[in-house]
Symmetry: D2
Subunit: 457 residues, 4 copies
Amino acid sequence: MSTEGRTWGGRFEGAMHDLTRDYTAGMDRDLWEFDIAGSIAHARMLGRQGIIPPADADAIVRGLERVRERFRRGEVAWRPELEDIHTHVEVLLREEIGEPAGRLHTARSRNDQVALVNRMAVRAFCDDARAALRDLIAVICDLAEQHAADPMPGYTHVQRAQPITLGHHLLAYGEMLLRDRDRFTDCRRRTNVMPLGSGALAGAPYPLDREMVARELGFDTISRNSIDATADRDFVAEFCFACATTQVHLSRLSEEIVLWASSEYGYVRLPDAFATGSSIMPQKKNADVAELARGRAGRLIGELTGILATLKGLPLAYNRDLQEDKTYYLAAGRTLIPTVQIFAAMLPALEFDLPRMREAAGQGYSLATDIADYLVKKGMPFREAHAVVGRLVREAESRRCELNELPFELYRSASSLFEPDVLDITVDAALAARDIPGGTAPARVREAARELRDLLS
Amino acid sequence: MSTEGRTWGGRFEGAMHDLTRDYTAGMDRDLWEFDIAGSIAHARMLGRQGIIPPADADAIVRGLERVRERFRRGEVAWRPELEDIHTHVEVLLREEIGEPAGRLHTARSRNDQVALVNRMAVRAFCDDARAALRDLIAVICDLAEQHAADPMPGYTHVQRAQPITLGHHLLAYGEMLLRDRDRFTDCRRRTNVMPLGSGALAGAPYPLDREMVARELGFDTISRNSIDATADRDFVAEFCFACATTQVHLSRLSEEIVLWASSEYGYVRLPDAFATGSSIMPQKKNADVAELARGRAGRLIGELTGILATLKGLPLAYNRDLQEDKTYYLAAGRTLIPTVQIFAAMLPALEFDLPRMREAAGQGYSLATDIADYLVKKGMPFREAHAVVGRLVREAESRRCELNELPFELYRSASSLFEPDVLDITVDAALAARDIPGGTAPARVREAARELRDLLS
Amino acid sequence: MSTEGRTWGGRFEGAMHDLTRDYTAGMDRDLWEFDIAGSIAHARMLGRQGIIPPADADAIVRGLERVRERFRRGEVAWRPELEDIHTHVEVLLREEIGEPAGRLHTARSRNDQVALVNRMAVRAFCDDARAALRDLIAVICDLAEQHAADPMPGYTHVQRAQPITLGHHLLAYGEMLLRDRDRFTDCRRRTNVMPLGSGALAGAPYPLDREMVARELGFDTISRNSIDATADRDFVAEFCFACATTQVHLSRLSEEIVLWASSEYGYVRLPDAFATGSSIMPQKKNADVAELARGRAGRLIGELTGILATLKGLPLAYNRDLQEDKTYYLAAGRTLIPTVQIFAAMLPALEFDLPRMREAAGQGYSLATDIADYLVKKGMPFREAHAVVGRLVREAESRRCELNELPFELYRSASSLFEPDVLDITVDAALAARDIPGGTAPARVREAARELRDLLS
Amino acid sequence: MSTEGRTWGGRFEGAMHDLTRDYTAGMDRDLWEFDIAGSIAHARMLGRQGIIPPADADAIVRGLERVRERFRRGEVAWRPELEDIHTHVEVLLREEIGEPAGRLHTARSRNDQVALVNRMAVRAFCDDARAALRDLIAVICDLAEQHAADPMPGYTHVQRAQPITLGHHLLAYGEMLLRDRDRFTDCRRRTNVMPLGSGALAGAPYPLDREMVARELGFDTISRNSIDATADRDFVAEFCFACATTQVHLSRLSEEIVLWASSEYGYVRLPDAFATGSSIMPQKKNADVAELARGRAGRLIGELTGILATLKGLPLAYNRDLQEDKTYYLAAGRTLIPTVQIFAAMLPALEFDLPRMREAAGQGYSLATDIADYLVKKGMPFREAHAVVGRLVREAESRRCELNELPFELYRSASSLFEPDVLDITVDAALAARDIPGGTAPARVREAARELRDLLS
């Protein structure tokens, strides 16, 4: 039990219980870079405003720079008795410059200091997520152009529905991920608000230049209410939501990669670099990356749930429950960003079996809708056409053949509108027919890829 | 068991099991307005483009208008065998106009139709949420101006920390709710994308004018990828997140209202109109609205979790799991919006006991920080000042008195920097001292209220 | 605005706001049966103990029986101004018997009354869930015996791993569901505790015979602490957890049914009675029941999350937040139980394509492990054998053939331990070899089905 | 990029990408003790059954014991290229004994090995949780007996409702925690099933003595289905649920400790050993332990949500998603168990201000129900009595006095049943009157504490 390093000892006589020290320990040791940058900006401003002697301000800034160097060189050992990263930095600063270190905390509370560091950290994660998403979307655009005309079965209900192109399919993910990127942009905007000067909760009784600090640290604006600035963590929840949604999107692609790599589908061969084997079954080659990405969507849903449940019902302003905020955004960012990165590396390495995909595209009665549309175009109401073709499918199924293997007489007896050209309906014709914005016609797919790429920049 | 009303019977011989009918029944009966509006726009466009005979298009439009009237007059009984609202509308249309009704589903799938209705419904909820939030924030601004100079204790860790004003405290919620409103704006933008023309998943093989439909229905833009448009529900998740975050914010205010209305606090008297009693304890007057609002934050966290877990790992495109999307956004919207509305009505009706709040503001050593700042301004480093005052607090606590009840000699012996004017530090002085942007000084609070109100419009 | 039906009006002057009435309305209208049964038992006991005049007790009991009849015949209209089901019953009782109705609430609070009804409702759901699970497990045992020797590929990572039998596969679900049933049993035990007599929170100041009430209502025991009895809802959370886990288990089976019904797998033909079609694609036959069951696992995860988040941080004893408890257990029970029931009906109706499953069982190098084990049995360490066979797989893959299509010389050159009998390793041999408890050998599967069935009774 | 340490390299030509290595890395390094114990039991059995040469089995056992020593002494450095703890142990074993190490994996797959380790780890956590809960409940029993007759206000809706005793209040938590302990017992029972021998999914083709392994490792029974044994993680979800529920219970106590320690309540003085201060406000002494415990309930709700979402929709058998299971149970156990432990240390150290609690117990009209009951005992129906007293409360409130400060004439004019002895109703009388099982009468509280303590053993 020790009192060293405590920033709040005055009124306390008894020592802290070891259990308490462990139980209240922060998870913030990796955030030193943000804490030091924030302290440097604060000290400079204090000096400029004459709130502390300019010479002390200079000493503090130089001292903090030396402390930063020690962190960068990995020379700082973690000392559990020092509670959190803020105390570490302050103690190290005192080692460097002695007495003036005590002036750094002027006009600042742990509450607004912590809010600052959290916002800087979440902002950095947003930037990383946006950069990783841009790379991944660019990869998807490349693949989509490359496979703009390569047919594959489009699925609904995990059943072959209508032919699409592989490029069109991949672009669906491009669209999802673009919205995800937008969400990180929105989240960054709401995060990028400078809270320092809020004090413990009421604002600081000093003539601070908050805008100067904001500028120095790259914030768009300063917080408008000191209580809100120290008490709310909705930006953490929003970040966790953006991460969870993105990972859920990638979990859907992961599910598909897992299916495509199976014997049943056989659409994709996994590159050795992104697969693992089995300790017992020598033949196995598993899509572990995709499976883990899928599983980790569960983790991110949990992180989001956790932070919201933590915030629920907390009275204002700061409560220690909020210390846990870091565990949520760190877990979220450290799960999501590597997932996006590994997909950007893995997708181009997938070997698609295009002939097999093309063959599958025409099977499973996937052209039935086009035959119904054929009748519609000859004047039959769609509902009626749908029923006519439904009966043809039943017939084909009982003969265990495809629709284009049925004799033409069967078509004709089903409806006199059928002409022999009904048998000309092919996968490529079906693709080409969907020639409207958003459709799977190859030209449209190429156009959509270009448009998506344009939106990236 | 019946096949009537099925839109997909052709290939089916056997009847549907009653269990299946019940198990697959939709929850969408309240969405008729959106479905009919969407069908009218679709039919008009089909006629304009010559995809169906213009006369049929006219008949369909007029028929749908009559169906809409029947819904509005409450004349439509729900028929479980008709599965969902879309089938109801189609069957009713057939009752009205007969044969041409069969052409309405031309170039449209249930998949893009459902996506359309969902997007229109979520968009309407976003608008309602934004309007309700605007009203509530305006109420808060009024109250904040009214109470800009009324002191109360500011709390951290549910302990009296420093004096603030009631107006400043309320504005913290104004800020949170403004961000919530922004989130609904962002969500609306991502929702307001017109999916019709996406067909089942591949796009429609007809020369649709998708932009015309979008304009008629008030959409900003059309979807760029037919698979994404029919398969993703991230806009539902985002809406649930915006609702959950808002309700979490209001759960914090609720917790405070519950505390403030207690004997221990005694800050607020609940108006009878917003309170309930006890069936056994005649004296009770409970803040039930606040308690329910707090509890329902749990519900909204659950809705958000549920939709994300539902989406996780689903391969493209549409899967029936997505039918559940409605249960999430309906529950979210119907929980959140009335909560916001009742707060806008209830807050102005709360009777604050301002004298009691003022008295409490000065108790509990809440001016200790200001005394430390007093020393800092005389040149003592903050860390040292903090320790000096901490010892004074311990002394006062052992004498069971407040800080300003300690004899001056004790101050002087604690530090020679103390002058008799230390005893002039009052609640009002402490408030006035926090005169920086975001601070609790009354002038700043008034300014912040004005600024917030400006941001509303 | 009305005060009629209020059970707590005495101290209130003002009327309740309509918003408040709507916002605080209960969701408990379907719980009348439990409320009436509880009130009858309470009244009988009050009369027996002489706490109210026996004649009044008799009148109350007879009156409640008449009220129950009116509910059973559907003659009771819901009146929103009466708040909740308890007030409805009390008002109806007054209509039936007048004055003595006022004595029913003697020695009872809304708080213990609500706790009673909740416990009876959750207990009934547990019983229904257990009965439904028993039926489903029995169905699985039947199918498992029927298919004890029918081979199919066993999958890991959604890739063919080793042959198993269909019966063995189905029994995996039998085991999961048996544990689920155990969880409902455990939950029922912790739920089945009689709370009446706890009053508002402190116990009732009357000589109640709580054991008599417990016996009459089928409770195992009475609650030991009045505060806990009125304030905790962990039994609701536990019920939601048991439901969520069961639905998650069924979501895994659902995923498999969806896959098995696809063209790619082709293991199962869906019966028309449990499938639905597409409004646009005439050929589609979708496993909607399975998809909805899978999706609704998301719903139940959400309900569980919601009730836990609702309970978190609530001080003792009753708070109005708890009114929401009903929404969680009603949604959970009404989602899970029909799912279990429809699976019991659907599973026997699935048409398995056993020849196709048998054929697939031997493909995809699924016998590779058995070949490695062949070497181990001849003395090679497993790790080495694994590597030898891994190289054979790579060779077969490059020749696009199965392992037993490789020439024997390749085996021999890979290891001199290979004899020609290595080519005798077949699917049936592989199955038969796993002849240990828990293994897939057909005799073991039959035995396991018998054992499971025994555990049901 | 390296292939060293891979247990599955045979069919792989290419090296693993570094991103893949990092992305697939396990979180299991702390589980060595379980892995080694399981391997020792497996090796012994293999030798006993003659599946591997007894001499090799002996060598393996001795080698593993040496490896265990190296771990215990902290001599083992983590090597990322070795994937997970299992590979580390195997590689270390090979360093110790060379060649025979390759026989350890005979008749075992990574899948059943991992299942074994998980079950052993969760079992150990259950034991730790049960022990910690026993200690905490015992502490609560002690305190309850000590404070069996010390009055405090009982609260509903965070408002003073009726007097209770502090002992009675604490016992409410004793009851909750006892149910929590039961849940860990149930969870342990379902966890304590030995999965080894299940192979990859189909069972092992060797004459294993699974019962022997189970006995040696302390398992109650062996798994009955090899697919279930390797594919399900419901025991992890159940463990997370038990942890979450317990932490939610403690979050409620935490909320109360936070309130009790406030100036407004003033019921509890925090011991320095379990409190922390503020870096800016010298007077602050915060209940950080309680706040963190409350906040961490959010974490555990998130862990539970995460594991369930991860399991949802996974086809059988093992999928790599399941690797994440460890992150859930490790976080759950490591959060919950220290929380229980610190509460057992902290509760006895709280200094209750008993006089203040007694005084508060009689305030806020908390005896109103007893006055209504007074009328009931004189023959008035409860509903009428409730209204009479409600009016008295309104009167007292308007006079800003307590009920027993109203003149007797007011009582008499409210009802002729009032006699002067109505003014004898005191807090102690109200407590003594609730003399039924579960009630707050001091004798009942002592009895309940004894009963609870008996149930502990």
